[in-house]
Amino acid sequence: MRSDRGQKSPLLLKVCAAGGLLFLHLPILLIFAYAFTTEEKSYQWPPPGLTLKWFAVAWNRADVWSALALSVQVACIATVIALVLGTLCAAAVSQTKFFGREAISLLVILPIALPGIVTGIALRSAFSLFDIPFSVWTIVLGHATFCVVVVYNNAVARFRRTSGSLIEASMDLGADGFQTFRHVILPNIGTALLAGGMLAFALSFDEVIVTTFTGGQQATLPIWMLEELIRPRQRPVTNVVAMLVVIVTFLPILAAYYLTRDGDQIAGSGK
């Protein structure tokens, strides 16, 4: 709080706050530490020795690469789908009035509130009902259900802050629909879309539950890790991959946070 600046907080509060933060983040550091241990069969503290060899092992394992490739592929496609559908839906809900608008808005947001396991079971039953074989696309569909929400939420908030008369002004000045989208709408909602897209990518990249129901035999990176934990061999490889997942998902979220924060000034209306 700005108004509290200079005022000393009690020691107990500081200790509690520090304790809370440590509780949240220490286990993650533990994961990182085990990536360097020499003990490969079980997690033993303190590590009997430190080594970098698991990075080389992970690098040379084909199953890591195929899982990573699948994860990146799924996350990219799901993000693109989410960007297109989420933006269109946000535009419809925020710029026009039509019958059932509130209902649609609620239905779009619902998948993120629904437990992943319910979404997963529902999709799996639907796929088997229509005899759709499991593939990259079934995973993508599962992920898209919640990725759309993230993009939609970001875009709709920005649309609401963007003055509706900007679009009319652009049309009035001779720009057709495409030009208006290119020169007025996109620059005003661009950062919100980027942020939404990055969050969607991160969500898809570490998704487990829905993927177990829609993935069939193929394993995305988080699924691969789950399977790997059961095998008591080369365990630290999992930790190396875990570090990678943390970095790949954390960076976009951090970027999204900064982009939407600055967005306040970018999207400030022309009033």
């Binding site: 009319e168 002004a169 009035d172 000045l173 720009a175 209306s269 022309g270």
Partner: protein, 328 residues
Amino acid sequence: MTPAVRFQKVSRHFGAVRAVDGVDLDVASGEFFAMLGPSGSGKTTCLRLIAGFEQPTAGSIEIFGERAEGVPPYRRNVNTVFQDYALFPHLNILDNVAYGLMVKGISKTDRYKEAEKALELVKLPGYGSRKPSQLSGGQRQRVALARALVNKPKVLLLDEPLGALDLKLREQMQEELKSLQRALGITFVFVTHDQGEALSMADRVAVFNNGGIVQQGTPQEIYRRPKTRFVADFVGSSNLLSPDLMASLGGERRWASLRPEAVRVASEGAEAVVENVSFLGAGTRLAVELGSARLHVMLPAGADVPDVGTPIRLSWNSQDIHYMDDAA
């Protein structure tokens, strides 16, 4: 001569709401035309019909003789100054002004040269590199004006252009808009709910109520000869005399209007009591009670001013009594 804008029996209904209902309208080329009315009277919808943001439910609209129904806003040689200015927040002032030329594919050097000229026209030279958020309300209004004028529109539409400005700035902009319009010779159509603004700026005024035009005419006609009670009431400052009062004064039993400056304090005439005296510089305004009605009397500067509470007698020339339709 072809009118700049012609409405023939134009209606725009939103479901059951008749926002504009059977409007006939001719705006002459090069005219400064005001659409005056309370909010919800249909004046803004008429402006949006000219701009192309709305399409008529019925009737026909012509802009310089060309049918306008079905023509999208971006294919009309008409530009709008929006009430909230609608400057693009992500572009600087020069790019805002040059926007219309940019989407037409005019080269960067040419369009910046034109935009700079337009900024000079609205007295904002050298402001091109700033962002809209760095300008004051009055400056944004000028930018919005420059952004519209740079496209050399045949008709310029202004939606409550001065509504957001403070009084002093508003008066200054009124004069500037008027002289700009005279210098450019472009047809201006502007919407306002401020009768003073409409009367002082426009060549002709259309008074709107309930989706239709109640009266069209020069500011003098509207002021001197209001057609209905609504016009007299809305344009304001005139005394409204009820049928009963008129009958008791020996006139026809109809609604009438009487301008305050046409009333004299005399030695004989209708008996009244002074209720209030306001000194207005150019004259003094009396509020008097005549029977049960309250009237305003405008005394010229230098006239004898009666004290509050004194009984006086009022007279006027019978031709200053203007009878009106009762209709709203």
